[in-house]
C-alpha cells in the first residue's frame, strides 16, 4: 500500500457532529508517526466532501493517484530506507 486518503464529511456538516474533526486530528497524528518512521506523510491525506459531490470525489481520486505516483512505491515495500527526514523535504521544495 503506497497511499491512503480519508474522506470525511464537510466540516460542520458531519452526522456525527465532531467525527470528521476528530478524524482530521488523528490523520495529523498518524502523519507525524509516518514522518518519524521515515515515510513521507504526504502518503496519507484527509479530504472533506459531501456525498453529493461526485465531481470533487473524482478530482480527489485523481489528485491522490498523481501524488502517490510521483512519490513512487513506499519504502515499506522496497526496503530502501527512509524516504523522508523531517525538515529536509521543505528545503528541497518537495
Amino acid at each position: 500500500m503506497d497511499g491512503v486518503y480519508v474522506a470525511g464529511c464537510l466540516e460542520g456538516e458531519c452526522h456525527y457532529l465532531r467525527g470528521n474533526l476528530r478524524a482530521k486530528k488523528r490523520v495529523g497524528h498518524v502523519q507525524g508517526i509516518l514522518a518519524a518512521l521515515g515515510i513521507n506523510p504526504e502518503r496519507l491525506q484527509m479530504y472533506n466532501l459531501s456525498a453529493a459531490m461526485g465531481g470533487r470525489f473524482v478530482e480527489i481520486a485523481q489528485e491522490m493517484t498523481e501524488r502517490v505516483r510521483a512519490l513512487g512505491p513506499s519504502p515499506v515495500t522496497t526496503g530502501q530506507g527512509r524516504e523522508f527526514v523531517a525538515g529536509e523535504q521543505e528545503e528541497e521544495g518537495k
Binding site: 508517526i33 518512521l37 521515515g38 515515510i39 515499506v76 526496503g79 530502501q80 530506507g81 524516504e83
Partner: protein
C-alpha cells in the same frame, strides 16, 4: 495513577536497532489508563516498529504481550516460558515495570519505551496533571486538600513566595501558584485563620527520596 508518555519513536528505534526478535510488553494498570502503555498502545507501537524496520529491508519479530501488572512478580513471571527466545524486552510500563523486567530476566536487556512522568490524574480526555510526589508524610488535611509539595514549584511549606503574582507561579505564568490555591481553598473552608497563621515546622524529608530508596514492610501481610 502513574502517568507516562511514549518516548519518541526514533529513540525507541535506535534502542532496538541491534535486535531482530523482541518482546513488547504493555501493562494493564496506570499506563493503560493514561493511554501510554496498554494493550492498544502495544499494538500501535508494534505496528510502527515493524513498519519502520521494513523500510530498511530488515524484519523485526515482535511478541506482543500486555501483562495485568508489571509491578508484581507473579505477572512479570508470566512471560518466563518464552522470554528466553527473544533478544530484548521493550517494556511500555512505567519505570517500575521496566526494572521488574530487568530484575526477573537477568540475561535479557530490558528497554524503556515510555518516559515515566508523575503521579497524577486526568483533567479531561487527553490531559493529565500531577498531584502527588510521594513525599511520605502527607499534610493534605492541613492545606485544604491541595499539596504544596507538588503544586508549589519550590515545594514550600509556608508559602507563597515572592514569585507569586496574580495567582500564577513565576516559573511559568500558565502554572497556578499552589499556595494561592491553598489560601483560596482554606478561605472557602473557613479554615484560613486557624491554618494559615500556623507555621509548618521543618519537614522531615527522609521519608521522601532524600532518604534513599524506600521500602514498606507490612508484617501482618507477609506469609
Amino acid at each position: 495513577m502513574i502517568v507516562a508518555e511514549a518516548k519518541p519513536i526514533e529513540e525507541v528505534l535506535e534502542m532496538i536497532d541491534r535486535y531482530d526478535k523482541i518482546i513488547l510488553a504493555g501493562c494493564k494498570e496506570c499506563v493503560a489508563v493514561c493511554a501510554a502503555g496498554g494493550e492498544k498502545e502495544v499494538q500501535l507501537l508494534a505496528s510502527a516498529l515493524r513498519t519502520a524496520r521494513k523500510t530498511t529491508g530488515r524484519e523485526l519479530e515482535i511478541r506482543e504481550v500486555t501483562l495485568e501488572r508489571q509491578c508484581d512478580p507473579e505477572y512479570v513471571e508470566g512471560i518466563r516460558g518464552f522470554a528466553g527466545d527473544y533478544q530484548a524486552i521493550l517494556s511500555i510500563a512505567c519505570g517500575v515495570g521496566v526494572q521488574y523486567m530487568a530484575e526477573h530476566y537477568k540475561t535479557i536487556p530490558a528497554l524503556p519505551g515510555l518516559n515515566t512522568s508523575f503521579m497524577g490524574g486526568s483533567l479531561e480526555q487527553g490531559v493529565w496533571s500531577e498531584r502527588c510526589q510521594g513525599c511520605g508524610t502527607c499534610i493534605l488535611h492541613l492545606t485544604g486538600g491541595i499539596c504544596p509539595i507538588t503544586r508549589c514549584a519550590k515545594s514550600l511549606l509556608n508559602g507563597p513566595c515572592g514569585g507569586s503574582a496574580k495567582g500564577k507561579c513565576e516559573v511559568n505564568p500558565e502554572i497556578e501558584c499552589g499556595w494561592q490555591l491553598i489560601i483560596d481553598r482554606l478561605r472557602e473552608l473557613g479554615e484560613f485563620e486557624a491554618r494559615y497563621t500556623e507555621l509548618f515546622p521543618i519537614k522531615d524529608w527522609s521519608t521522601s527520596r532524600d532518604g534513599g530508596q524506600r521500602t514498606i514492610i507490612r508484617e501482618d501481610l507477609k506469609p
